[in-house]
Homo-oligomer: 384 residues x 2
């Protein structure tokens, strides 16, 4: 009997050793999953049971994504449980996966988040004292899945549409922000990884943002019968007809379905990374349609204010009169995007183009940068 008791105590002891008291399951875990766990100093412990594997590594999704430089070796115990604890992580949402004898495997303990062209694992590391993207005790809007037929592509698509808290109770019409994800992501990304709906709920509750509709669609569109053409590095790619889809299908669908104010003064577009490039390309070629523009961490290489975007910046007086907000931002820990944004900022300054330049301190090419970007950008929108 004493022997049995000893074994039980030992088991409990081991269990405590694996799940230290100063840590708790990440909020991004599926219900009941104990790992990954976040420690009070923001170290993160990952764990995976794979007795048959010879080598397992933790792979942060992206360089400098806040979890450390990957791949990171994990250690196996006698039961085939692989564990690693990272250094204190940068706060925010981080994509990750495990490399299991060379195979990129999701963590069964994590929710999945569409990024990198597939459903990935992700871990939410809280930022102390920061709750602008948390569910708080304020009125909440909705994210609505809007199924619609797109003539450009001949397909049924779905847009994710945020409607503000008072939408159903009022007869008011609202301005609209079109908000785009990055490469390899989709229409679910901004609400799931980015928490765009909670950011807007909180801003609106604090009267820091005007109530607005936010439309999140997939930034990829392929026309029927499209033929691949050489893309970056010569790789054949199908041409992306997203601009055509946005202008000819999505905006008309939104304006005919929701109580929008359907003019340029009440229409904004912003996007992160690839979505930022799309935003600049599309809005600066269609200033008759958009008056509010946001680029979050777009790749902005070789920016020349004289020639960029078909010379749109060559008449600063006209541009400043027409464009209500041009917003350029990046994180200080994403060197290429940050330098690109700074170069554009300086070029715009020299040319006398009014704009906002935003830095997210200590964050990389990641959602903490983009949550902060949306928080700053959305608060400036649709002001008189």
């Amino acid at each position: 009997m004493k022997r049995l008791l000893a074994i039980v105590v030992l088991t409990v002891g081991l269990s405590y050793a694996q799940a230290p008291k100063d840590s708790k399951p990440a909020s991004s875990n599926v219900p009941g999953a104990e790992y990954p766990r976040i420690h009070s100093d923001l170290r993160v412990t990952f764990q995976l049971t794979a007795p048959g594997a010879q080598k397992v590594q933790l792979m942060p999704g992206g360089a400098d994504n806040g979890l450390g430089k990957g791949p990171i070796d994990m250690a196996k115990d006698a039961k085939g449980v692989w564990t690693v604890t990272t250094q204190p992580a940068v706060p925010g949402f981080h994509y990750y996966w495990f490399i299991l004898d060379g195979f990129a495997a999701n963590d069964p303990g994590s929710e999945t988040f569409f990024g990198w062209g597939k459903q990935c694992s992700g871990v939410e590391v809280p930022e102390q004292g920061v709750d602008f993207y948390d569910a708080r005790d304020v009125p909440h809007g909705e994210v609505r899945v809007r199924v619609y037929r797109a003539r450009t592509t001949g397909e049924w698509r779905r847009a994710y549409v945020y409607t503000p808290p008072d939408y159903d109770r009022s007869t008011q019409r609202y301005p609209v922000l079109y908000l785009q994800h990055g490469a390899g992501e989709n229409e679910t990304t901004w609400s799931k990884q980015g928490r765009a709906n909670l950011i807007l709920d909180n801003l609106i509750a604090e009267r820091k943002a005007v109530p607005m509709i936010v439309v999140m669609d997939r930034g990829y569109a392929t026309k029927p019968g499209a033929v691949a053409v050489a893309g970056a590095g010569g790789t054949p790619r199908l041409p992306n007809a997203f601009e055509e889809l946005l202008l000819n299908d999505l905006i008309p669908t939104i304006d005919s379905t929701y109580r929008t104010i359907a003019d340029r003064d009440h229409r904004a577009m912003a996007g992160l990374s690839m979505g930022g490039s799309q935003t600049l390309q599309i809005t600066l070629a269609h200033l008759n349609l958009f008056a509010w523009i946001g680029s979050f961490s777009a790749p902005l290489r070789n920016f020349d204010v004289k020639t960029a975007y078909n010379g749109v910046f060559n008449d600063p007086a006209a541009f400043n009169k027409q464009v209500r907000l041009l917003w350029i931002g990046a994180g200080t820990l994403e060197p290429s995007m940050y330098q690109g944004a700074q170069t554009m900022h300086q070029g715009l300054d020299q040319a006398g183009i009014r704009h906002v330049f935003f830095e997210s301190k200590g964050t990389s090419h990641e959602f903490q940068t983009w949550r902060r970007s949306l928080h700053d950008f959305a608060a400036r929108l649709f002001r008189q």
Copy 2:
């Protein structure tokens, strides 16, 4: 030069061999993923690149799920690509994963679907001539993510709420169906795997169903400070406070947020598997709140019409007057659930309890059974 050409041709030849002309990528794949592929005879080819793995198997999620009995060995080629083609599959949605040297890994080519307590891979096998759950050229309703505070659990929860196509344009009030998932699933399941919204869109367009609101929440709720008690097989489990949450938080939230008709004659509840058991437990104990009841493939063991549900069936005249619809269904290929439903059906018949008994022919404990169940059940709801 000739040698190089030969190699190129060989590669193309192999590529065709891997992706036969009579097959196409499953609609449940992520964009661009070529596998799994559905053949014209409904065989399914799965493929995974894992050169470092010693053994890879396809694991259908559940016994007799239509893909065959697992685990099914996959064959490795010289490049480390593992492939298997199944026998012709039963149409419908099937959970699956790969077993990679003993580790249950998702397929990076598949979307993920919450089931089995985690995000799983899934494959959609079309049923010839059947489109009642497809996106068709009809008016579409919305699935809305409703964030709400639940006092029962002290947590922020989200319910998925289907509103019918004309909801925003009318001032009409609507009846409500509370629709529950099975064990290990969640609030996303009925719209993602089950396509409840498309089934309702199509029924409403054909005037086969009354426009209604459908509420899909997570059928698990844990009260703060809850202590585990012995569950099935003695395993300690936290008590599930879903009934309390539904009655005290969810229904009041829905009735105060949406234009519902908030009485028993316009309130239905149904669920699949565990959700069917919850439906019978909750509705038959609260007939003052629900007049329409659906059990889809619930585990109904040892049903005795005299003692079941606290003797609710002992006064058939009163029951038949009070309950507008009692609907019991199962698939013919899920022996335990089918026998349970038949036993209940016979007991109800003998007792003179009016009800509908529904068989889904040739389908198992799977979503094709439950899509058909919802299609039949929803069409009967809220009729005078």
